[in-house]
């Protein structure tokens, strides 16, 4: 029941509280100890009037109307940082914050830029409002052509769910084309859905639009059913999360892997193909929905380590403490809103960490000291000069690339998808 459709006997707080209790694991929210760890770890917590701790306190005090009056819940990027550190393991991201966003959405309290993305998703099957017919236009010119299953009608081993940003965003398309090269080098028999594919819907779901998510999922599910394949791989961790953890509740059940997991399983076959050296210090950014949500930390790192010349370093936030790029939970479509509220960007924070991690690693390295002398003497350094931020989610490349343009010290940092690094090393 919608909390604002008031049952006369119950307050808004009680109706909302009851809806939380009905969610899987929702009962746990009773156990909140008001420690505030969620608020402390939240990357946007400073600018949110409605952090998880405050929402729970307001519900207990029967003051939920105050929470609904604020729109700062839209600052939540559904990164699961709060849920990960909560000592009581409360379902904060996909329970409390999801329900609050759903409530705001149902009452029409939606920032305009997010509204457009949701309307586009419903109308065109992608949040950008691009032509559905042109979903596989990124494959044009590839030889041999990438098989679109409804045209070839042949069974494949792997159905590649390309996703919105890899299909339509120019930087995502580069990574998608690189992945074609890698898959072909490994002799993988794959195909795509092309114009039959629609958005995986996961970020729309986390922005409170469960109904839209289900509608998109059912459309994809119908095309999965019509196609003949053994497993799904995804470019996008959000699609991976949706197909792995959410689609089964709609009776859409298929084995799915993120492309980094799929390639990692074939590392022995892949390694001999990686013959070109990429001399660079590489920091890897754990995408929230690959790392924190699904525990995939090692496969991307092992792939990077397999590239000759790569010196892999960790940033201060890594593995389960990784910092969100700012694009999750609808954040991809709330840049203006986030900027208005905070005058900051999570992607810029992250890019500063890339620069710092390289500087620190160089400093503590034995070779780093020698390099200092070499630099003074005008000799070539032993440590790589180039710095690369490696990503594994198509949301991230444009976000971080933009951030390198605004952070002076990061002007030379390149942002590359792991698929691009692998393809370049071949």
């Amino acid at each position: 029941m919608l909390a604002t459709e008031l049952d006369e006997r119950l307050s808004t707080s009680q109706v909302f509280w009851n809806s939380l209790m009905e969610m899987p694991g929702g009962e746990k929210i009773r156990q909140c100890i008001q420690c505030g760890t969620c608020t402390g770890v939240c990357p946007f917590g400073r600018w949110m009037q409605t952090t998880p701790r405050k929402i729970i306190a307001a519900l207990r005090m029967n003051e939920f109307e105050d929470i609904l009056a604020s729109d700062t819940a839209w600052m939540c990027v559904s990164c699961y940082a709060c849920a990960k550190v909560c000592p009581q393991q409360l379902p904060l991201t996909d329970g409390l914050m999801f329900r609050l966003k759903e409530e705001l959405l149902l009452t029409g309290n939606v920032p305009t830029e997010l509204q457009l993305a949701l309307e586009n998703s419903r109308r065109y099957g992608n949040p950008m409002g691009e032509s559905p017919k042109k979903r596989s236009a990124w494959t044009e010119g590839l030889d041999p052509p990438v098989p679109v299953l409804r045209e070839t009608r042949k069974p494949v081993d792997v159905l590649w769910f390309v996703g919105d940003f890899a299909s339509y965003h120019p930087q995502g398309q580069q990574a998608a084309r690189a992945l074609v090269k890698v898959l072909r080098a490994l002799g993988v028999n794959f195909g795509i859905l092309g114009p039959d594919e629609v958005s995986d819907g996961d970020s729309q779901r986390m922005a409170g639009e469960r109904g839209l998510f289900e509608w998109l999922a059912i459309r994809n599910g119908a095309h999965f059913m019509r196609s003949n394949f053994n497993q799904i791989i995804t470019t996008d961790p959000h699609a991976y999360n949706a197909i792995k953890n959410e689609y089964p509740s709609l009776e859409i059940n298929y084995p799915v892997q993120h492309y980094t997991e799929f390639l990692y399983e074939r590392l022995d076959q892949l390694k001999p193909l990686l013959t070109k050296k990429i001399s660079a210090t590489v920091a890897y950014h754990d995408p929230c929905y690959l790392g924190r949500v699904n525990g995939v930390y090692d496969p991307p790192r092992e792939l990077l380590k397999a590239i000759p010349g790569v010196r892999l370093v960790e940033m201060s936030h890594h593995h389960d403490s990784s910092l969100c790029c700012g694009g999750g939970g609808g954040g991809m479509w709330l840049d203006g809103f986030q900027w208005d509220q905070s005058k900051s960007r999570l992607s810029e924070w992250r890019i500063r960490e890339v620069v710092i991690s390289k500087t620190v690693e160089d400093f503590i390295s034995v070779i780093g000291a020698e390099d200092k002398n070499r630099r003074k003497a005008g000799q070539p350094t032993l440590l790589p000069e180039e710095t690369i931020l490696a990503v594994a989610c198509p949301y991230e490349k444009p976000r971080f690339t933009d951030a390198t343009k605004t952070i002076e010290e990061a002007k030379t940092v390149r942002v590359m998808d792991i698929a691009e690094l692998l393809a370049n090393a071949m």
Binding site: V110, R123, S131, G208, E209, G211
Partner: protein, 253 residues
């Protein structure tokens, strides 16, 4: 207050448009349709007025692909009644539409009729004025704000050059909406689904179409390329020198 909102579907420009073999119309075979943007604002304005002063909102649209979805979305936003005009609606033009609407609306005793001021596929954008004439009501177009008090509407009309005029209009009246007081609201997918189950679309046959009075299309064609821009080649000095030359040729330097 009884508010009627005539709306229509128009070609969606997200896909490339093609011209049919006859050469005087769009090829409708693969064309997607979308609610006319100004009509979306007219619906929003009607619902805002309903929320402020109370009333009943009826949305009327000629039959077209996806029109049911557009109507149910309007219901989910707060429209009370949905009417679909059926019959030979494929060849409808704004004159025929205004006549058909007048016939249906006459029996509804409206206080206010709000429609989009124009549509990108209109040849003359005259639905509002023609409808007002048929119903003997006043008309104001390019309206971007509506307030209702004591059977009078106070409306703001936009003129080219950034001019704004305020009109007092006695009801009943027809208003051509350019923009609603607030942007059209978002309606959650589940609410549209609920509306599909809870609301009925009434169908009204419009009988024989009278398409007279409208401009006719003699030929439809893609914009033709006449002259292309001259791209300057060479290094920056050469390009700069040529730029200066060109500016001198045109007498701007």
């Amino acid at each position: 207050m009884n508010i009627i909102v005539p709306v229509k579907m128009v070609p969606d420009l997200v896909e490339e448009l093609t011209i049919d073999p006859g050469g005087a119309a769009l090829d409708t075979a693969w064309m997607r349709l979308i609610l006319n943007e100004f009509d979306d604002h007219a619906i929003e304005q009607a619902i805002l007025l309903k929320e402020r002063v109370g009333g009943l909102v009826t949305v009327i649209a000629p039959e077209a692909a996806d029109v049911d979805d557009a109507l149910f979305t309007a219901a989910a936003k707060g429209a009370d009644r949905l009417i679909k005009l059926t019959g030979e609606t494929g060849s409808i033009n704004s004159h025929a539409l205004a006549r058909a609407l007048a016939a249906v609306i006459q029996t509804e005793t409206p206080d206010l009729i709000l429609t989009g001021v124009q549509a990108h596929n209109d040849l003359d954008g005259q639905v509002g004025p023609l409808l007002a004439e048929s119903l003997s009501m006043p008309y104001v177009g390019y309206v971007s704000s509506v307030k209702i008090e004591n059977r009078m509407a106070t409306v703001k009309k936009e003129y080219p050059g950034g001019l704004l005029a305020e009109f007092m209009v006695e009801l009943p009246a027809v208003l051509g909406i350019q923009a609603s007081d607030e942007p059209p609201r978002y309606v959650a997918f589940t609410k549209v689904r609920q509306a599909m189950q809870a609301t009925k679309i009434e169908e009204q046959d419009i009988g024989e179409l009278d398409i007279s009075g409208s401009a006719a299309v003699s030929r439809m064609f893609q914009p033709e390329v006449k002259e292309r821009a001259e791209m300057l080649e060479g290094d920056s000095d050469a390009v700069a020198a040529r730029l200066v030359e060109i500016m001198q040729e045109y007498g701007v330097l």
